[in-house]
Symmetry: C2
Subunit: 243 residues, 2 copies
DNA sequence: CCAAAAGTGTTTGTAATACACCCATGG
DNA sequence: CCATGGGTGTATTACAAACACTTTTGG
């Protein structure tokens, strides 16, 4: 037997509920991943909100009245890093009633990918509460941010095999070794050099720049760049990235 | 150069923002998928909200103050179908400013899977505004529900290859043909009968019930059921469902 | 000429694909 | 005995995995 006791709904119920207590603050939290050729890092902020003073938290903010969530996330990212046009993907929304000490705050998690450079490390100096922490070193975060963080790491690992987003963590020009390192570090696996290179050649998404590394005291590696147009064309024809 | 102009944030800003205009109504929308041995269907509700009167919409409701979003979705599902313990997965949150005619409503989409039977078809009779529509027949929905719906269909198709959720759309006892049909219909592909069966045998997740179909005017098919424990054990050992 | 990392092919095993006939039941 | 869908095996091909030596550069 079905209950189906919702036949009495109507617009007025909605209007009155929307305008009374059926409201919540809405926020975004961004897991900003950066890669510095050796470690996957995440930008964290030392919290000053009781009872989490001193703990690190993800960077986030309330969703402003004139923004949708994507725009809020973009703004948070810009305010914290100065970067625009950064890769951002929504992951999940977290809504447990007591997740925030100041009241009901529903938050939507995003992760984003940035190439770490000196400019970005400088933000640690400009605001000592901001830190690029190694992902492998994360322990206890403020609020429910451990759960949010874990979800985003999982999503990143999933997507990395699924979509050509790894390139967003590397400089425009990179060697195949750098790329392989990235996959090994982020996914915590080991890859066979020759098989990895054969696979990438088969994917046919990289441009050989006919340039070499310089200033290395060993044989310099050839440099490549990722060709987004080539990928887009292939994708439209039914090609699926997989690595 | 980074801007990093957020160093002036503090708790009081948050408290005042949370308690003033920085609030939104929060809702869930459920894409309830049902399978009737031939068609993938979705439960839709004829809307009475201007300017969408007569258009069909997903079933949803506001998130109540004492609920998190998962609980809201479960409640919506129960109120509409009378079912508890139904598979539900959060898909994405939609937040465009003008997405709802009554004001700012941020909605989180879920999809769920139910086995269609006479009981469930009865809800169409009890509330003539509810309809189990064929997924393949969906055209224009109310609000931004086409986008939400498309996202959920995509997620379902993705998950179906990835996790053993197809069984949730079938009766407890099913034939291999029924299972194959499900995959073919939902994913809109054709599968080779022998290869499909070999693959399922290799996965080793089904229990041979030593029962046959009855009341068919041809050779009766053997019946199987899915063994969730077996799957859980294998999953823990690193096994990944893939089909 | 030495150290360090770049670059390159072949073999072997495993999984995906393609494909056609006999079987059991009800009418 | 006929119609209907159920059930089964093999050969071929493509992809994944394992593996070691030569090359280029800087110091």
């Amino acid at each position: 037997m079905t209950t189906n006791n919702k036949t009495n709904e109507n617009i007025n119920t909605w209007i009155s509920q929307i305008n009374t207590e059926f409201k919540a603050a809405v926020s975004v939290d961004c897991v900003i991943f950066g890669y510095d050729e050796n470690h996957l890092r995440v930008l964290l902020l030392e919290s000053d909100m009781p009872p989490f003073e001193g703990k690190y938290s993800l960077v986030g903010d309330l969703c402003h009245p004139h923004e949708n969530l994507d725009e809020s996330a973009k703004r948070v990212l810009f305010e914290r890093t100065g970067l625009k046009d950064v890769f951002l993907e929504q992951v999940k929304t977290f809504s447990d009633i007591d997740r925030h000490p100041l009241g009901r705050v529903i938050t939507t998690a995003y992760y984003s990918l940035v190439k770490l450079n000196e400019n970005l490390f400088r933000i640690e100096k400009e605001n000592p509460k901001l830190k690029w922490k190694k992902v492998s070193s994360i322990t206890e975060l403020a609020f429910d941010h451990n759960v949010i963080f874990d979800n985003c790491v999982k999503q990143l690992r999933y997507r990395l095999r699924d979509k050509p987003i790894g390139f967003k963590l590397l400089p425009k020009k990179f060697s195949l070794k750098q790329l392989q390192n990235l996959y090994e570090k982020v996914l915590d696996i080991e890859l066979d050099k020759r098989n990895f290179r054969r696979k990438l050649k088969a994917l046919d998404l990289l441009v050989d720049l006919n340039e070499n590394q310089s200033d290395v005291n060993h044989r310099p590696a050839k440099l490549y760049s990722f060709d987004p147009e080539k990928y887009e064309n292939k994708r439209k024809k039914g090609f699926n990235f997989e690595l």
